[in-house]
Symmetry: C2
Subunit: 208 residues, 2 copies
Protein backbone atom coordinates (compact mmCIF):
# COMPACT_ATOMS: atom_id res chain seq x y z
CA UNK A 1 0.00 0.00 0.00
CA UNK A 2 2.80 2.36 0.76
CA UNK A 3 4.99 3.02 -2.25
CA UNK A 4 8.61 2.18 -1.69
CA UNK A 5 11.45 2.43 -4.19
CA UNK A 6 12.49 -1.03 -5.34
CA UNK A 7 15.98 -1.90 -6.46
CA UNK A 8 14.74 -2.08 -9.99
CA UNK A 9 13.15 1.32 -9.87
CA UNK A 10 16.35 2.84 -8.53
CA UNK A 11 18.31 1.27 -11.33
CA UNK A 12 15.88 2.50 -13.96
CA UNK A 13 16.21 5.98 -12.59
CA UNK A 14 19.96 5.83 -12.57
CA UNK A 15 19.97 4.50 -16.10
CA UNK A 16 17.85 7.34 -17.32
CA UNK A 17 20.11 9.80 -15.57
CA UNK A 18 23.12 8.24 -17.21
CA UNK A 19 21.41 8.29 -20.59
CA UNK A 20 20.71 12.00 -20.30
CA UNK A 21 24.24 12.72 -19.16
CA UNK A 22 25.66 10.75 -22.05
CA UNK A 23 23.42 12.49 -24.53
CA UNK A 24 24.51 15.86 -23.26
CA UNK A 25 28.16 14.85 -23.34
CA UNK A 26 27.83 13.67 -26.91
CA UNK A 27 26.20 16.91 -27.96
CA UNK A 28 28.97 18.93 -26.35
CA UNK A 29 31.49 16.59 -27.93
CA UNK A 30 30.54 17.63 -31.37
CA UNK A 31 28.99 21.03 -31.15
CA UNK A 32 30.41 22.53 -27.99
CA UNK A 33 28.35 23.99 -25.19
CA UNK A 34 26.07 25.88 -27.54
CA UNK A 35 24.76 22.59 -28.91
CA UNK A 36 23.77 21.30 -25.51
CA UNK A 37 20.42 23.03 -25.20
CA UNK A 38 18.12 21.37 -22.74
CA UNK A 39 15.56 20.64 -25.45
CA UNK A 40 18.15 18.97 -27.64
CA UNK A 41 19.63 16.99 -24.80
CA UNK A 42 16.18 15.74 -23.85
CA UNK A 43 15.35 14.87 -27.42
CA UNK A 44 18.62 13.01 -27.92
CA UNK A 45 18.12 11.10 -24.69
CA UNK A 46 14.58 10.29 -25.69
CA UNK A 47 12.90 12.04 -22.77
CA UNK A 48 10.86 15.18 -22.31
CA UNK A 49 12.42 18.50 -21.48
CA UNK A 50 11.04 18.53 -17.98
CA UNK A 51 12.55 15.16 -17.19
CA UNK A 52 16.02 16.66 -17.26
CA UNK A 53 15.01 18.78 -14.31
CA UNK A 54 14.14 15.69 -12.28
CA UNK A 55 17.82 14.86 -12.19
CA UNK A 56 19.55 18.24 -12.15
CA UNK A 57 18.19 21.41 -10.72
CA UNK A 58 19.56 23.51 -13.53
CA UNK A 59 21.32 23.23 -16.83
CA UNK A 60 24.48 24.57 -15.26
CA UNK A 61 24.55 21.64 -12.85
CA UNK A 62 24.21 19.17 -15.66
CA UNK A 63 27.06 20.84 -17.53
CA UNK A 64 29.20 20.96 -14.43
CA UNK A 65 28.71 17.23 -14.00
CA UNK A 66 29.81 16.58 -17.56
CA UNK A 67 33.00 18.51 -16.98
CA UNK A 68 33.62 16.84 -13.65
CA UNK A 69 33.06 13.34 -14.98
CA UNK A 70 35.12 13.60 -18.11
CA UNK A 71 37.92 15.60 -16.59
CA UNK A 72 38.30 13.37 -13.54
CA UNK A 73 39.21 10.58 -15.89
CA UNK A 74 41.75 12.63 -17.80
CA UNK A 75 43.39 14.08 -14.72
CA UNK A 76 43.61 10.60 -13.25
CA UNK A 77 45.48 9.34 -16.26
CA UNK A 78 47.93 12.24 -16.32
CA UNK A 79 48.42 11.99 -12.57
CA UNK A 80 49.21 8.31 -12.89
CA UNK A 81 51.91 9.18 -15.36
CA UNK A 82 53.32 11.81 -13.03
CA UNK A 83 53.39 9.37 -10.14
CA UNK A 84 54.97 6.54 -12.09
CA UNK A 85 58.63 5.63 -11.95
CA UNK A 86 61.06 7.29 -14.27
CA UNK A 87 63.10 10.42 -14.69
CA UNK A 88 61.35 13.80 -14.72
CA UNK A 89 62.09 14.15 -18.41
CA UNK A 90 60.53 10.82 -19.22
CA UNK A 91 57.52 11.63 -17.09
CA UNK A 92 57.00 15.00 -18.66
CA UNK A 93 57.33 13.46 -22.09
CA UNK A 94 54.80 10.78 -21.24
CA UNK A 95 52.36 13.18 -19.62
CA UNK A 96 52.24 15.53 -22.56
CA UNK A 97 52.15 12.77 -25.12
CA UNK A 98 49.39 10.93 -23.31
CA UNK A 99 47.25 13.96 -22.80
CA UNK A 100 47.73 15.14 -26.34
CA UNK A 101 46.84 11.88 -27.98
CA UNK A 102 43.74 11.49 -25.85
CA UNK A 103 42.63 15.03 -26.58
CA UNK A 104 43.02 14.47 -30.29
CA UNK A 105 40.58 11.59 -30.11
CA UNK A 106 37.88 14.05 -29.12
CA UNK A 107 39.00 17.48 -30.15
CA UNK A 108 35.74 19.29 -29.80
CA UNK A 109 35.11 17.87 -26.36
CA UNK A 110 38.64 18.62 -25.25
CA UNK A 111 38.26 22.18 -26.43
CA UNK A 112 34.98 22.55 -24.60
CA UNK A 113 36.50 21.14 -21.43
CA UNK A 114 39.66 23.18 -21.48
CA UNK A 115 39.07 26.37 -23.29
CA UNK A 116 35.60 27.25 -24.44
CA UNK A 117 34.02 29.60 -21.92
CA UNK A 118 30.67 28.86 -20.41
CA UNK A 119 28.54 30.22 -17.63
CA UNK A 120 30.20 30.89 -14.29
CA UNK A 121 29.03 27.80 -12.45
CA UNK A 122 30.53 25.50 -15.03
CA UNK A 123 33.57 27.70 -15.39
CA UNK A 124 34.45 27.00 -11.79
CA UNK A 125 34.55 23.27 -12.34
CA UNK A 126 36.46 23.62 -15.57
CA UNK A 127 38.96 25.96 -14.06
CA UNK A 128 39.56 23.38 -11.41
CA UNK A 129 40.27 20.79 -14.08
CA UNK A 130 42.69 23.08 -15.84
CA UNK A 131 44.43 23.89 -12.58
CA UNK A 132 44.70 20.22 -11.67
CA UNK A 133 46.30 19.46 -14.98
CA UNK A 134 48.72 22.31 -14.50
CA UNK A 135 49.51 21.10 -11.02
CA UNK A 136 50.40 17.63 -12.27
CA UNK A 137 52.86 19.16 -14.68
CA UNK A 138 54.15 21.54 -12.06
CA UNK A 139 55.00 18.63 -9.79
CA UNK A 140 57.03 16.99 -12.49
CA UNK A 141 58.77 20.27 -13.22
CA UNK A 142 59.64 20.86 -9.57
CA UNK A 143 61.10 17.43 -9.28
CA UNK A 144 63.19 18.01 -12.38
CA UNK A 145 64.47 21.31 -11.12
CA UNK A 146 65.46 19.83 -7.78
CA UNK A 147 67.31 17.03 -9.48
CA UNK A 148 69.03 19.53 -11.73
CA UNK A 149 67.52 18.05 -14.86
CA UNK A 150 65.66 21.26 -15.75
CA UNK A 151 66.83 24.85 -15.63
CA UNK A 152 65.64 27.17 -12.90
CA UNK A 153 62.30 28.02 -14.44
CA UNK A 154 59.24 29.11 -12.51
CA UNK A 155 57.28 25.87 -12.46
CA UNK A 156 53.87 27.51 -12.12
CA UNK A 157 54.38 29.74 -15.13
CA UNK A 158 55.93 26.96 -17.15
CA UNK A 159 53.06 24.62 -16.35
CA UNK A 160 50.58 27.26 -17.54
CA UNK A 161 52.62 27.70 -20.70
CA UNK A 162 52.56 23.98 -21.38
CA UNK A 163 48.84 23.72 -20.88
CA UNK A 164 48.35 26.74 -23.13
CA UNK A 165 50.70 25.47 -25.77
CA UNK A 166 49.14 22.12 -26.28
CA UNK A 167 45.67 23.45 -25.87
CA UNK A 168 46.20 25.93 -28.65
CA UNK A 169 48.09 23.66 -30.98
CA UNK A 170 45.82 20.67 -30.44
CA UNK A 171 42.32 21.90 -30.12
CA UNK A 172 42.36 25.66 -30.48
CA UNK A 173 41.35 27.58 -33.55
CA UNK A 174 44.93 27.63 -34.76
CA UNK A 175 45.07 23.86 -34.77
CA UNK A 176 45.04 22.25 -38.20
CA UNK A 177 41.62 21.45 -39.57
CA UNK A 178 39.99 18.29 -38.29
CA UNK A 179 40.12 15.05 -40.14
CA UNK A 180 43.71 15.37 -41.20
CA UNK A 181 44.23 11.73 -40.44
CA UNK A 182 46.32 9.68 -38.05
CA UNK A 183 49.62 10.49 -39.72
CA UNK A 184 49.15 14.24 -39.26
CA UNK A 185 47.96 13.65 -35.72
CA UNK A 186 51.11 11.75 -34.85
CA UNK A 187 53.22 14.52 -36.32
CA UNK A 188 51.31 17.10 -34.30
CA UNK A 189 51.73 15.19 -31.05
CA UNK A 190 55.41 14.73 -31.76
CA UNK A 191 55.93 18.43 -32.45
CA UNK A 192 54.02 19.61 -29.43
CA UNK A 193 55.77 17.21 -27.13
CA UNK A 194 59.15 18.25 -28.41
CA UNK A 195 58.28 21.92 -28.16
CA UNK A 196 57.29 21.58 -24.52
CA UNK A 197 60.22 19.37 -23.69
CA UNK A 198 62.74 21.72 -25.24
CA UNK A 199 61.12 24.55 -23.33
CA UNK A 200 61.40 22.68 -20.07
CA UNK A 201 64.60 20.77 -20.43
CA UNK A 202 66.53 23.20 -22.55
CA UNK A 203 67.40 20.63 -25.19
CA UNK A 204 66.20 17.34 -26.57
CA UNK A 205 67.20 15.06 -29.40
CA UNK A 206 64.95 14.65 -32.41
CA UNK A 207 62.82 11.58 -32.13
CA UNK A 208 61.13 11.46 -35.50
Amino acid sequence: MVYRQTENATKRLADKRARILAAARDLVADGGWAAAQVDHVAAKAGVATGTVYRHWSSKAELCAEIVATVSAREVGIVKAVADADGSPVEKLDAAIRTFASRALRGRRLAYALIAEPVDPEVETVRLDYRAQLARCLERILREGIMRGAFPRLDPAVAAACIVGAFMEALVGPLAPAKGTGPRADRHLIEQITQFCLRASVGMTEQKA
Copy 2:
Protein backbone atom coordinates in the same frame (compact mmCIF):
# COMPACT_ATOMS: atom_id res chain seq x y z
CA MET B 1 17.04 74.06 -49.85
CA VAL B 2 18.56 70.67 -50.42
CA TYR B 3 20.21 69.37 -47.31
CA ARG B 4 23.87 68.66 -47.75
CA GLN B 5 26.24 67.27 -45.16
CA THR B 6 28.60 70.03 -44.02
CA GLU B 7 32.10 69.34 -42.85
CA ASN B 8 31.03 70.09 -39.31
CA ALA B 9 28.16 67.69 -39.40
CA THR B 10 30.39 64.95 -40.71
CA LYS B 11 32.83 65.56 -37.91
CA ARG B 12 30.10 65.55 -35.27
CA LEU B 13 28.89 62.24 -36.60
CA ALA B 14 32.36 60.76 -36.66
CA ASP B 15 32.96 61.97 -33.12
CA LYS B 16 29.83 60.33 -31.85
CA ARG B 17 30.75 57.14 -33.65
CA ALA B 18 34.16 57.20 -32.06
CA ARG B 19 32.65 57.88 -28.66
CA ILE B 20 30.39 54.86 -28.93
CA LEU B 21 33.23 52.67 -30.14
CA ALA B 22 35.43 53.79 -27.27
CA ALA B 23 32.67 53.20 -24.75
CA ALA B 24 32.16 49.70 -26.06
CA ARG B 25 35.90 49.00 -26.04
CA ASP B 26 36.18 50.17 -22.46
CA LEU B 27 33.32 47.98 -21.37
CA VAL B 28 34.89 44.95 -23.03
CA ALA B 29 38.20 45.92 -21.50
CA ASP B 30 36.96 45.39 -18.05
CA GLY B 31 34.07 43.04 -18.24
CA GLY B 32 34.61 41.07 -21.42
CA TRP B 33 32.07 40.68 -24.18
CA ALA B 34 29.25 39.99 -21.78
CA ALA B 35 29.55 43.51 -20.39
CA ALA B 36 29.15 45.11 -23.78
CA GLN B 37 25.39 45.03 -24.03
CA VAL B 38 24.01 47.54 -26.45
CA ASP B 39 22.07 49.28 -23.68
CA HIS B 40 25.17 49.66 -21.55
CA VAL B 41 27.31 50.83 -24.41
CA ALA B 42 24.74 53.45 -25.30
CA ALA B 43 24.44 54.57 -21.70
CA LYS B 44 28.18 54.82 -21.28
CA ALA B 45 28.53 56.78 -24.50
CA GLY B 46 25.68 59.05 -23.43
CA VAL B 47 23.37 58.22 -26.33
CA ALA B 48 20.16 56.28 -26.76
CA THR B 49 20.12 52.61 -27.64
CA GLY B 50 18.82 53.24 -31.11
CA THR B 51 21.64 55.62 -31.92
CA VAL B 52 24.08 52.76 -31.90
CA TYR B 53 22.20 51.29 -34.82
CA ARG B 54 22.71 54.46 -36.83
CA HIS B 55 26.40 53.63 -36.98
CA TRP B 56 26.49 49.84 -37.06
CA SER B 57 23.85 47.59 -38.48
CA SER B 58 24.23 45.07 -35.67
CA LYS B 59 25.98 44.53 -32.41
CA ALA B 60 28.20 41.95 -34.04
CA GLU B 61 29.51 44.56 -36.47
CA LEU B 62 30.32 46.90 -33.64
CA CYS B 63 32.19 44.15 -31.81
CA ALA B 64 34.00 43.11 -34.95
CA GLU B 65 35.20 46.67 -35.37
CA ILE B 66 36.53 46.75 -31.84
CA VAL B 67 38.52 43.61 -32.47
CA ALA B 68 39.75 44.86 -35.82
CA THR B 69 40.82 48.24 -34.48
CA VAL B 70 42.62 47.07 -31.40
CA SER B 71 44.22 44.05 -32.97
CA ALA B 72 45.46 45.90 -36.03
CA ARG B 73 47.56 48.02 -33.73
CA GLU B 74 48.99 45.03 -31.87
CA VAL B 75 49.76 43.03 -34.98
CA GLY B 76 51.43 46.08 -36.46
CA ILE B 77 53.73 46.37 -33.53
CA VAL B 78 54.66 42.70 -33.51
CA LYS B 79 55.14 42.74 -37.26
CA ALA B 80 57.47 45.70 -37.01
CA VAL B 81 59.57 43.72 -34.59
CA ALA B 82 59.64 40.74 -36.93
CA ASP B 83 60.70 42.93 -39.83
CA ALA B 84 63.41 44.77 -37.94
CA ASP B 85 67.10 43.98 -38.17
CA GLY B 86 68.61 41.40 -35.91
CA SER B 87 69.07 37.68 -35.56
CA PRO B 88 66.02 35.43 -35.47
CA VAL B 89 66.64 34.75 -31.81
CA GLU B 90 66.69 38.43 -30.96
CA LYS B 91 63.59 39.04 -33.01
CA LEU B 92 61.68 36.22 -31.41
CA ASP B 93 62.72 37.44 -28.01
CA ALA B 94 61.61 40.97 -28.79
CA ALA B 95 58.32 39.89 -30.37
CA ILE B 96 57.27 37.80 -27.40
CA ARG B 97 58.44 40.30 -24.85
CA THR B 98 56.71 43.19 -26.60
CA PHE B 99 53.46 41.40 -27.04
CA ALA B 100 53.46 40.10 -23.49
CA SER B 101 54.13 43.42 -21.85
CA ARG B 102 51.45 45.13 -23.90
CA ALA B 103 48.92 42.42 -23.14
CA LEU B 104 49.61 42.75 -19.44
CA ARG B 105 48.67 46.39 -19.55
CA GLY B 106 45.14 45.36 -20.47
CA ARG B 107 44.65 41.79 -19.46
CA ARG B 108 40.93 41.62 -19.73
CA LEU B 109 40.91 43.20 -23.16
CA ALA B 110 43.73 40.98 -24.34
CA TYR B 111 41.84 37.93 -23.15
CA ALA B 112 38.68 39.06 -24.91
CA LEU B 113 40.60 39.67 -28.11
CA ILE B 114 42.55 36.45 -28.14
CA ALA B 115 40.64 33.83 -26.33
CA GLU B 116 37.14 34.57 -25.13
CA PRO B 117 34.70 33.23 -27.70
CA VAL B 118 31.90 35.34 -29.03
CA ASP B 119 29.36 35.05 -31.79
CA PRO B 120 30.55 33.75 -35.14
CA GLU B 121 30.82 37.06 -36.96
CA VAL B 122 33.21 38.45 -34.37
CA GLU B 123 34.96 35.13 -34.07
CA THR B 124 36.02 35.38 -37.69
CA VAL B 125 37.76 38.67 -37.13
CA ARG B 126 39.38 37.50 -33.95
CA LEU B 127 40.56 34.30 -35.51
CA ASP B 128 42.18 36.37 -38.16
CA TYR B 129 44.02 38.36 -35.52
CA ARG B 130 45.22 35.24 -33.82
CA ALA B 131 46.34 33.78 -37.10
CA GLN B 132 48.18 36.96 -38.05
CA LEU B 133 50.03 36.91 -34.77
CA ALA B 134 50.94 33.29 -35.30
CA ARG B 135 52.10 34.06 -38.82
CA CYS B 136 54.45 36.79 -37.60
CA LEU B 137 56.04 34.30 -35.26
CA GLU B 138 56.10 31.64 -37.91
CA ARG B 139 58.08 33.89 -40.22
CA ILE B 140 60.71 34.46 -37.58
CA LEU B 141 60.86 30.75 -36.88
CA ARG B 142 61.30 29.86 -40.55
CA GLU B 143 64.10 32.31 -40.88
CA GLY B 144 65.79 30.87 -37.82
CA ILE B 145 65.48 27.34 -39.12
CA MET B 146 66.93 28.28 -42.49
CA ARG B 147 69.86 29.96 -40.84
CA GLY B 148 70.38 26.95 -38.63
CA ALA B 149 69.72 28.89 -35.45
CA PHE B 150 66.69 26.82 -34.52
CA PRO B 151 66.18 23.07 -34.66
CA ARG B 152 64.00 21.52 -37.34
CA LEU B 153 60.68 22.21 -35.72
CA ASP B 154 57.39 22.57 -37.56
CA PRO B 155 57.05 26.35 -37.58
CA ALA B 156 53.26 26.36 -37.82
CA VAL B 157 52.82 24.11 -34.82
CA ALA B 158 55.49 25.93 -32.85
CA ALA B 159 53.89 29.29 -33.59
CA ALA B 160 50.56 28.00 -32.33
CA CYS B 161 52.27 26.68 -29.22
CA ILE B 162 53.85 30.05 -28.55
CA VAL B 163 50.59 31.91 -28.97
CA GLY B 164 48.89 29.40 -26.69
CA ALA B 165 51.64 29.50 -24.11
CA PHE B 166 51.69 33.19 -23.58
CA MET B 167 47.98 33.51 -23.90
CA GLU B 168 47.45 31.03 -21.13
CA ALA B 169 50.19 32.25 -18.86
CA LEU B 170 49.44 35.92 -19.35
CA VAL B 171 45.74 36.33 -19.56
CA GLY B 172 44.13 32.93 -19.17
CA PRO B 173 42.51 31.64 -16.05
CA LEU B 174 45.75 30.01 -14.97
CA ALA B 175 47.49 33.35 -14.97
CA PRO B 176 48.27 34.77 -11.55
CA ALA B 177 45.55 36.97 -10.10
CA LYS B 178 45.39 40.51 -11.37
CA GLY B 179 46.96 43.36 -9.50
CA THR B 180 50.08 41.51 -8.57
CA GLY B 181 52.14 44.57 -9.34
CA PRO B 182 54.86 45.50 -11.80
CA ARG B 183 57.54 43.33 -10.19
CA ALA B 184 55.46 40.19 -10.63
CA ASP B 185 54.57 41.27 -14.14
CA ARG B 186 58.20 41.60 -15.10
CA HIS B 187 58.93 38.19 -13.68
CA LEU B 188 56.05 36.73 -15.64
CA ILE B 189 57.17 38.27 -18.90
CA GLU B 190 60.70 37.06 -18.31
CA GLN B 191 59.58 33.51 -17.61
CA ILE B 192 57.27 33.30 -20.56
CA THR B 193 59.84 34.69 -22.93
CA GLN B 194 62.47 32.28 -21.74
CA PHE B 195 60.07 29.37 -21.94
CA CYS B 196 59.24 30.12 -25.55
CA LEU B 197 62.83 30.83 -26.47
CA ARG B 198 64.10 27.61 -24.97
CA ALA B 199 61.35 25.78 -26.82
CA SER B 200 62.34 27.37 -30.11
CA VAL B 201 66.08 27.66 -29.85
CA GLY B 202 66.78 24.62 -27.77
CA MET B 203 68.79 26.50 -25.19
CA THR B 204 69.18 29.98 -23.83
CA GLU B 205 71.15 31.55 -21.05
CA GLN B 206 69.36 32.89 -17.97
CA LYS B 207 68.75 36.59 -18.17
CA ALA B 208 67.37 37.33 -14.73
